[in-house]
Assembly symmetry: C2
Homo-oligomer: 239 residues x 2
């Protein structure tokens, strides 16, 4: 057994120590949460499904020279990842206006942005992860400007890879949220899952939502949509 003591339990994942100080075991949970965990749900097998989807995505990112924490996927809902010190920012990349940005700016969902937009949110559940500007981040000492520029560049590169990958399987990548951390070599690497829990995916033809918005907005067919994303990805990445 690789798994040792529990280090952290989040809304959708548990993180365990392993026998190797440089590696952590990440276990995907079946729970679904939204609106800063005010809304809760789950479906059996969601953890394993997100683990499999994330795996296919990490493999694709590897082929495209994106540095990330994933090392290998174990059975079921577990993967082994590099240990990192997380930069306390949620990094959001948007291709299309939706969700909180649509609400904040009074725009309709679906308007394509001229170029991808990167946003930062300060990771703090008690404060409901507030949206912050580059200057606020620097003023509060959470990261310096050079790090923010690096994060934007990396997030932009990841966006290009994912966008193209999803387009090939008939899905539009509307936006996604991720996190970065510093590994033992002090490299800044992608250090979060990438799954329908933290991205918006719309069917290219029908605009059907295929992501956690089905849960957030009570649209039904949550499990079926996650399953379909996985099946399309599996076919797509085999080509």
């Amino acid at each position: 057994m690789l798994k040792k003591e529990l280090l952290y339990e989040g809304k959708a994942k548990k993180i365990f120590k392993t026998e190797n100080d440089l590696e952590l075991l990440m276990e995907y949970k079946d729970s679904l949460t939204a609106f800063n965990a005010l809304k809760k749900g789950e479906f059996a097998g969601k953890g394993a499904l997100n683990c499999k989807i994330s795996t296919l995505i990490f493999e694709t990112l590897s082929k495209n020279q994106v540095k990330h924490h994933w090392l290998k996927t174990l059975e079921g809902n577990q993967m082994l990842v590099q240990k990192t010190t997380i930069i306390p920012l949620e990094v959001v990349v948007r291709n299309v206006i939706a969700g909180s940005l649509a609400k904040k700016l009074g725009r309709k969902e679906g308007e394509t942005l001229v170029q991808p937009l990167v946003e930062f949110y300060y990771k703090d559940d008690a404060l409901a992860d507030p949206f912050v500007s580059d200057d606020q981040i620097v003023a509060m000492g959470w990261a310096d400007l050079a790090t923010l520029e690096h994060l934007k560049k990396e997030a932009g590169k990841i966006n290009q890879v994912l966008k193209s990958m999803f387009e090939k399987i008939g899905l539009k990548l509307v936006d996604f949220k991720t996190e970065f951390g510093r590994n033992a070599k002090q490299e800044i690497i992608l250090a979060d899952e990438i799954s329908p829990d933290c991205m918006r995916l719309w069917d290219l033809e029908t605009n059907k939502k295929m992501d956690k918005d089905r849960f957030r907005q009570d649209l039904g067919e949550v499990e079926e949509s996650y399953q379909e994303v996985y099946q399309r990805l599996q076919k797509g990445t085999q080509i």
Copy 2:
């Protein structure tokens, strides 16, 4: 009579056309509003008082080569200003953490920032003037990066002048909010009042609040505080 038809009525000011197409007449109102006008109040003479305070501040800014819209002050609560096309951003400069920033980041009021912080809010009453990042502003086409850098530089310069001016009269400039516009020559100039309605001023010795927070927070002595700011400024700028 210079004053012609009413062009615009805001929460604290009325703007009139004049006989000169390049100039506007700005009339300061006695009303006080807070929380996006959910809270309303007034005191007689507040408009004239803010007009006099703004005048002293504009004179000081002139001596420090800051470009602004003020041309001259007329009787009572009226001033003549250059006509500008307003950039749709509220520009906030902070020296000390207070107000919405303290609330958003869960910090206590009063913590001095290592260096002044400039923030942008998109001017839209219906959306309650949302806080926006540089990248969001550029993505939405409200201003380009070069303009934002220019605004930050100008706001920083204004902050230095005001901070020093207030320190001389025993007041700490905690933060202030202003706006910029483009005049007929397409110069970007300061184009808003500068008064205790849109800044936080704390007595340097006692930390007593001397600004609109007295109204926002029901602290009493609103009129007396505005009066004292004016009297101290009047003495200070005569030296």
